[in-house]
Every structure is written in structure tokens, then in C-alpha cells.
Symmetry: C2
Subunit: 216 residues, 2 copies
């Protein structure tokens, strides 16, 4: 790449990080723990949010839904009484900090709590952009196979918590637990990994407890 | 975005398309049908290649494997005797035409046939970049859920053929066939959709026959 292109890209990253810091600090002052939820398409991000919220009865919860198009998940969350606002990126493959800063103007934050931001379904690009989060939550599905840490290392390296979803499908897809764990640990020695099943709710009580501990 | 940023991005797209045309035409002259295989992480792209190859006994097959990191799939394909070269993008979220043009120098094309190019596991960015293909093949897994056309429309809009993989998992994930099909047809009236299962090989004979018909 030419010097000019590199400079433009570096400027985009710098400006993003500057705004991410502002978002991060201003929400922290309001007592809001911000969770950046990343994962491939169909990993179970929205279903995981629903299950975490069910296990956070004493917490005020806010959700920002990121999608390229559609508001399918926002409709689903609102029907459950979860305060949600929709971002449509119209093609963009990840959320960025300026987009979050702008969307926060639509959100009425009247008490401390947890803000889940569901990023675009993409195991690559979202890992490169801070959006003001305190916690990066990586969601991957057992149905994707156990080789994901080896193929998409950045997201695993940066994750503060990993949810392995659809664990009921392990038997049908020859998921290799040892291979998966070895891949994660080579990138991230200490990240907690929770095995969950959004259909039964199994494992989500422990995830929500982890969030409460992290917040307090 | 500023005028300068837009200009830089437009130049990247223009230069990419120029090289994609060259790759496309030069391979066509050699009697090579180029398939750009796109899909989310864990959709079953490599397993689908293996199954298509099994059903193409009379065809010479070449594979270019695109991954951010690792050569897991290339090792797997080579063990099966499939001529494969590896591209590692070291972070980049899609393949582009200059990368393919360069990698072709490593590939000995000694007879007409089919070249499968497995793109990076990503349902967003690869759909924006031509890489010299004659056919865009979209692979999505039943385990990802039936709402993918609504959330990731560009890939569905541009696909020349769609493979719905892991169809054995439909029952476990409440896959809604009618909702999926309605989403696809709203974007792409005529694209053929093949339901397949890479574990049993079901459906791949029909896919390979479609490729042969398309090539001849």
C-alpha cells in the first residue's frame, strides 16, 4: 500500500480509539458496564442476550442491536420488554465508536446497569475496532466446529469472556473439545469459557453471575 | 467521510475490478471455471469442496484456500490428493483480485477444469470484491438459522448458486424453510438452492452436475 493509504487508515483507527475512550469513560461514570458482543453470523448472539437478561433480574439492561440491514432481532428483544435501539450499518462489516457515540443520543440512561452492544455477525472485522466497551464477549457456536481459534485468532486473543453456544449440537458435528481449548489457550491464557445452550438456558446463570461480578 | 477517503476507497475498488477481469478472462481461455466460495465461519466451505470434488471424477480440480491464518484446510485437501495452494491474508477479511493474480503464479494449470477459491469465512466483505470468478457460490449452514438472507443481503443477492449445508441439523435449530426461501427470493429470483449434508454426501451429486453444466 502507498504511504497515503496507510496514513488514511491509521487516522481512521486513531480517531475511532479516541471516541471509544470517551464513550467508555462517560458510560463508566454513569455506572454502565458495556459489553461488546462479537461472533459469526448465526452464532447465537441475540439468543444469548435474551438468556443473559433472564438471569439478570435485579439489573437494568440496555441493548444496542447492530445489523447491516433488518430489525428482526430488535423486534424480538422489544417484544420481551428489553429496551433496545437499532443501528443499521447499510453494508459496513463492523460497528465503530463514532456510530455508538451517535446512537447513545437515542438511549435514555436513567440508572446504572449493563449495556449489551450486539456487533455485526462477523468473526473478523469487529475484533479490530473498539467501540467503548469494558468487556469483549466472543460468542461461537459448537456447530461452527472446533477449529475457529486457529482460523480467526484475533477475536479469541482479545476476548474477555467466551460463550460456546449450541452445545447440544456437539455430538452431531464432531466437535473436538480438546482441540478447541488448546487453540483458545494458545492465544488467551486466562479467558473464561462458558458452555451454554440458549434453547434450555443451560449455563447462562453462570454467565450472568460473571457479568455481575465484573460490574461490581 | 471526506472526499479524499472516498477517492482512495473508489480507487481500490476500480483497481480490484480491473485485475479481476484479467484473471477471469485469462482463466476462461485456459478452460478453467472459477468458483468463488463464500460463507460464514464454519458454514462448511471446505467440506463442501471435498464433496464436490468426489462427485467430479472426470474433471481436473484446483483449489486456492483463503484463510486469515493457519493451513488446516489445505493440509486436509492435500491429504485427499487435491491440488491446493494456501493464501494467508494475515488479518484481511476477504480475498481480492491482486492476491489471486499473484497466487496463480504458484499454480500449475496443465489442463482445463474447475478452480475452487475458498474465500475468508465472512458473510459480509467477500461479497463486495470480485476475484476473477465466473460463479459466486454461497454456502450457508442450517445451523446459522433461517434469517440470514434478511441480515446479510448482499451475499444472497450476488450468489449464482447457494448450498444450504448441515441440513441434518434443521430439526435441532428450528430452521424455517419457508422464511429462508422467502428471504432469498426477495433478493434473487432465480438462484438455485441445493440442500446438502457433507457428512453423508447427500445432495452433492446434483451440485457437481450443475457445475459441469455451467462449465460446458
Amino acid at each position: 500500500m502507498s504511504g497515503k493509504k496507510i496514513e488514511v487508515i491509521q487516522n481512521i483507527f486513531d480517531e475511532n480509539d479516541r471516541i471509544a475512550s470517551i464513550v467508555n469513560e462517560s458510560l463508566e461514570q454513569l455506572g454502565i458496564l458495556v459489553i461488546n458482543i462479537m461472533g459469526a453470523p448465526g452464532a447465537g448472539k441475540t439468543s444469548s442476550i435474551i438468556n443473559m437478561v433472564k438471569n439478570l433480574p435485579g439489573e437494568k439492561v440496555y441493548v444496542i442491536e447492530g445489523d447491516i440491514e433488518s430489525d428482526i432481532d430488535t423486534v424480538k428483544l422489544k417484544e420481551l420488554g428489553i429496551e433496545t435501539i437499532q443501528i443499521n450499518t447499510n453494508g459496513a462489516c463492523h460497528l465503530d465508536a463514532p456510530t455508538i457515540e451517535k446512537s447513545l443520543q437515542e438511549l435514555t440512561i436513567d440508572q446504572p446497569g449493563i449495556l449489551f452492544i450486539e456487533n455485526i455477525g462477523n468473526l473478523v472485522c469487529p475484533a479490530e475496532f473498539q467501540i467503548g466497551e469494558h468487556v469483549k464477549m466472543l460468542i461461537c457456536s459448537a456447530a461452527e466446529g472446533s477449529d475457529k481459534p486457529y482460523k480467526y485468532p484475533l477475536a479469541f486473543e482479545k476476548a474477555n469472556i467466551i460463550l460456546l453456544t449450541k452445545c447440544d449440537l456437539k455430538a452431531y458435528v464432531d466437535f473436538n473439545d480438546e482441540f478447541f481449548l488448546r487453540g483458545v489457550r494458545a492465544l488467551n491464557k486466562s479467558v473464561p469459557i462458558f458452555e451454554v445452550n440458549a434453547k434450555t438456558g443451560a449455563g447462562f446463570q453462570e454467565v450472568s453471575q460473571w457479568l455481575i461480578n465484573r460490574k461490581n
